[in-house]
Structure formats: C-alpha cells, structure tokens
Amino acid sequence: MGTASPGARYGDGDRGPRFRVSEMRITRRSTVEELLTALPEEGTTGLSLEDGARIAVIGGGPAGSFFSYFLLGMAEAVDLPVTVDIYEPRHFSHSGPAGCNHCGGIISESLVQILAAEGINLPPSVVQRGIESYVVHMDEGSVRIESPVHEQRIASVFRGNGPRGGGDMPWDSFDGYLLEMAADRGARLERKLVSGLEWVDGLPRLRHPGEGGSTYDLVALAVGVNSNLSHLVRGSEPGSATRTTRTYICEFQADQRIIRETLGSSMHVFLSDIPRLEFAALIPKGEYVTLVVLGDDIDQALISAFLASPGVRRCMPEHALPTVCNCAPLINIRGPRKPYADRLMLIGDCGVTRLYKDGIGAAYRTAKAAAETVVFHGVSAEAFERNYWPACKAIERDNTIGKFLFGFTRTFKVLGVWRRGVLRMTTREQRKEGSRRMSAVLWNLFTGSASYREILMNTLHPAFVAGMLWNLALGIRPGGNGHRKTGGVNAQGHTGQVVG
C-alpha cells in the first residue's frame, strides 16, 4: 500500500511510486512538457482512489462542472466517498467578461437530447431562445433549413449573465447553472485563485496566492484556453501543445420584437465570399443578437466588410446597436498529444475539443469519459491512456475530417456556380417531402449535431453526388439559377424560397 496519501491505493504487489522529482514546482509559466514530465518513474499501475480521496477541479466551466457532477454520481453509485473541490474564482452571475466564458453559446441538438436523457433539462431562465431552423446566407440568396422534427431542440444561451452593461438580467447563466448542479451533488466551490501546481511526494499540490497549498489525489484541469491558468497547459514545443486560433464575438442590442421578426427562431449562418472569412453566424438571444466570426487574422476591416455585405444587412435587426461587449477569444483547434499524467488530467477546451462546433458537447463527452475512468479504472496515466484517451482520440480523428470539410467549403465557396448549386439543391429539398441530403449535410455541419465523419459519408453517397452534379449543371447554364428570385420576403429565408 502506498504511503503518500490516505486516498491513494496501489495494485497488489506494487511497491508504490518513486518519483524523479520530489518537489517539482510548476507555475503559470510552466509548459505542458514540464507539467507532464513531472511524473512518477514507475510503479503507478493500478493507482486508484479509495474512500476519502480528494479531487481538485480547476475551472468551473462546463467541462469542470460536468466532470464533478458525473464523478460524484458514479462514486456514489459504487459507494466510494470522495471530496471534489471546484476552484472557480469567477461569479457567472456577473454580466460582461467578468462572468463569461467567451463563446457563441449554442447547445447542439444532440447535446440537448442527451442531457435530457441524463436528467439535465435546461430551464427557461437559462435558454435565451430555442432554435428550430438555420438560415444559410450566400451572396446569391438565402435558404432556411428546418429542423428534421420541427421542434426547438437547439438552445442559445449566455455563458455568463449576458453582455456588459446589460444591468440586472432576468435570466441565468448556462455555466452558472451547471456549476450549481455540480454543487447540489456535493462538489465544494472554492472561490480561491490557483497560482501554481507542484508535486510533493508524488501528489499534486495546488498553490494559492498568499496562503498555503492544498494536496489532492487527483487534479483535473478544466481551465479552457483563455484563462491565465491556460499557461499551465500551453507548451513551447511545436506539435506537443494545444493549438489555438482567434474568433470574434460581439453582442448587438435591439428590440426583442424586431429580433423575433427579422431573425425568428433561427440561427443565421453566412457563407459569404469575403476574403479571410471562414464563416459567421448571428444568434438571436432575447433582446440581444450574438455575432460570431471565424476566419484568418480577423481585424476591423474584415468585420466591417462582413457587416456591410448584403446578406447581413438583409437580416440584421433594424437599429441593432453593437454593445461594448465584444471579444476575440482563442479557441482550441488541436489538443495536446497526451492530455494526462499520473493524477493529472486535462479536460474540456484545454485538452481535446471539437473543431469549431459543439465545444460544450465535447466538454460533456470528455468530462464524462474522464469521470468514468477515475471512478472505475483509477488515476494513473496508464488508466487514462486506456480509458480516457480513446474518447479524446475519437474527437481528434474526427477533427481531421472536419478540417478537410471546412477546407473544401473554404475553397469552393468562392465559386458562384458552387454556391448556386448548393442553394438550389437545398431549396428544392426544403420545398418537398422526401430525401434531404444537402439539407442534412448543412444542418449537421452548422449545428454540430453529427460527427464530421458522418457528414463526410453523407456527401459521398451516390445520390448526393448525383444531385449536386445535376444542380451544378443547372447553375452553369446561363440564367440557370433555377429559381425565380422572390423579392419582398424577410430575411428569415422562408422555407424553399431564395431571397434575392
């Protein structure tokens, strides 16, 4: 039996861990390589938790809250009493950056369903708008893609308590709701700052400014890629650490009635031929509209060009004013090669997440896989490798396909004939019952409801390829858009209509 901790247990015949570095200190400036090489040399196979084990979760965003919630539930199911401390100094009840985790705030269709099956139902105070359709805007026109079940199964939410300067908001933060859920299950919320991580006798020990540290049997880092603590997991060696890119998010305020009339219960996605723009989206949220832009080297010129484009002017609510709440957060586009070590794991955005879409869904999946690993398999690097890493690896593999799909879209969206073909095929599908292959591909691509692999397979189906070629051919024909442009309809892109 190991001697290091009352909460640590080692496999039969194990001599207990020996450590290369007995008091390795890792600070905000440490790299992921330093963090992950401060490991026990041997003898850690079978390292697992026992009664009274202490677990620290650094970061109270969705990954940290999901991890704590599921870990406590599973531990209770197997009669394993553990303590979970969540370190989150921010209050998500604050508006503006102080309480925000900087993202567009979309909960995907598949995640809404899975959470409901888990017994986690988002209350009306958290859901800003139930989304039931997507409107795809291109330079040639717009088309609305209806939810396959004609139901509001996508949620737009505020990660914090809404935009800065919004006053006392009558709604709740999504992140705050999840954190409360974890606390209700028994997690202790520590409002302390964590300034560093060190290893003492093989156990992780958190350091706090101006006071002593706390020793744990496991530390789960769920700090995202935008917090100061993300330095803990950002390495210097190329290929070893998390890679990020910047997005741009801005909140616009307008009359709620006008937002409903112009944007409806739809998320609006733009595939415009604007240099450096990957794609952009407008998300209705009560009396606010969230603009999310993804592209290369986003600057004011790109944002101005986008806001001035015909598609945006067509659907941006009248008199919508940009609030002071805008930001350019980092997003993870490739996780570290090995997001774990003995007694240490990276979950959520600072580990492995989904490319561009459904980051909260990826946080749910990796956090739950992490919790299952810890409770049923232990806290050794080997246990993480066998049981946690496959969930991460599956996401990373799928992201590779996602990069191909987005690269393909980036290449072809500059071609008018391609855009017309996509628009025509989607419009025809939305007008009639039956097979909706292009609609399904676009729906899944933009909502994040299906894996990139599934989307790719759908595009390789002979019927899809034939349909696309046919519509491309019609688009090449002079005047062959194939649809009479319907002026006068509003920007919600009425189903089956091409908005001129």
Binding site: Q113, A116, E118, P124, G130, R153, G286
Partner: protein
C-alpha cells in the same frame, strides 16, 4: 420573466403519443404536465401525471413493441423529443448513460409493484368481507 422553453408545444388534450402506434423516440417534459392513459374496453384509465423533467416513451428505445399507453398534454405542455438513434448511438459509446434511464424505469417498477400490492390487498379484503365474490 420571459420564457424560452425547448421542445414542441402541445395544446391541452392533444395526444403526443398514441397507444398501439409504433414509436422510435422517447420524450422529456420541459414545462407543463402530461397524463399517461391506458385505453381499455371500459374506457381510459389514467396511469400517471408527469411534470417537468419526467420522461415517457422510453420503452420504445429498448424494444420494438407498440406504444403501451397514450400520453396527452394536460393544459399547455412543452415536450422535447429524444431520437432513438441519437440516444442508442451515445449509449453504445457511453453505457453509463443508460443507467439514469434504468434508474427511472426501476423506480416505475417499484411503484407498479406497490400499486399491485395495494390492489391485491384491496381484492383480498373485499373477498374476506364478501366470500361470495370468490365463488363467482
């Protein structure tokens, strides 16, 4: 406070699922109430009233039988549909997800057992008070 509820809105008395139909979804009540009704030769028997957070239709996820009861909105209700395919694909990757559904199903079996015990006790009591009932 403004309300933005997920799912689909159902009017009072509207049938969300019908007994005897083939189903491929389960449902989670988001707001309002629904009633579960068993249609018999003597009319409808109300089995349960479900509220926000409760789910129904989960048997169709695990078996291919037709719906065993009709579920109607009791007042205006908002109900979220969970696709069988989405759920089973996730359960394949994360079997522990099935545990929360099984816990609810287990609770229902417990409630049905209690109901059965009460019904049998009532029947036995009626027989004791009126022995003629047993001979009929």
């Amino acid at each position: 406070m403004r309300r933005a509820t997920l799912g689909k809105s159902w009017a009072d008395g509207e049938a969300i699922v019908r007994q005897g139909e083939v189903g491929n979804s389960m449902y989670v009540v988001q707001a309002g109430e629904v009633e579960v009704l068993r249609e018999t030769e003597d009319g409808e028997v109300r089995l349960a009233v479900l509220g926000a957070g409760d789910f129904f239709g989960e048997m169709s996820i695990f078996e291919r039988e037709v719906r065993s009861a009709t579920v109607r909105a009791r007042g205006e209700a908002q109900v979220l549909t969970v696709d069988k395919r989405t759920l089973l694909k996730r359960i394949k990757k994360d079997p522990f997800l099935a545990v929360s559904i099984l816990q609810t199903m287990s609770n229902r079996i417990r409630e049905i057992n209690a109901e059965l015990v009460r019904a049998r006790a009532a029947a036995a009591s009626a027989t004791t008070e009126n022995p003629e009932l047993e001979t009929r």
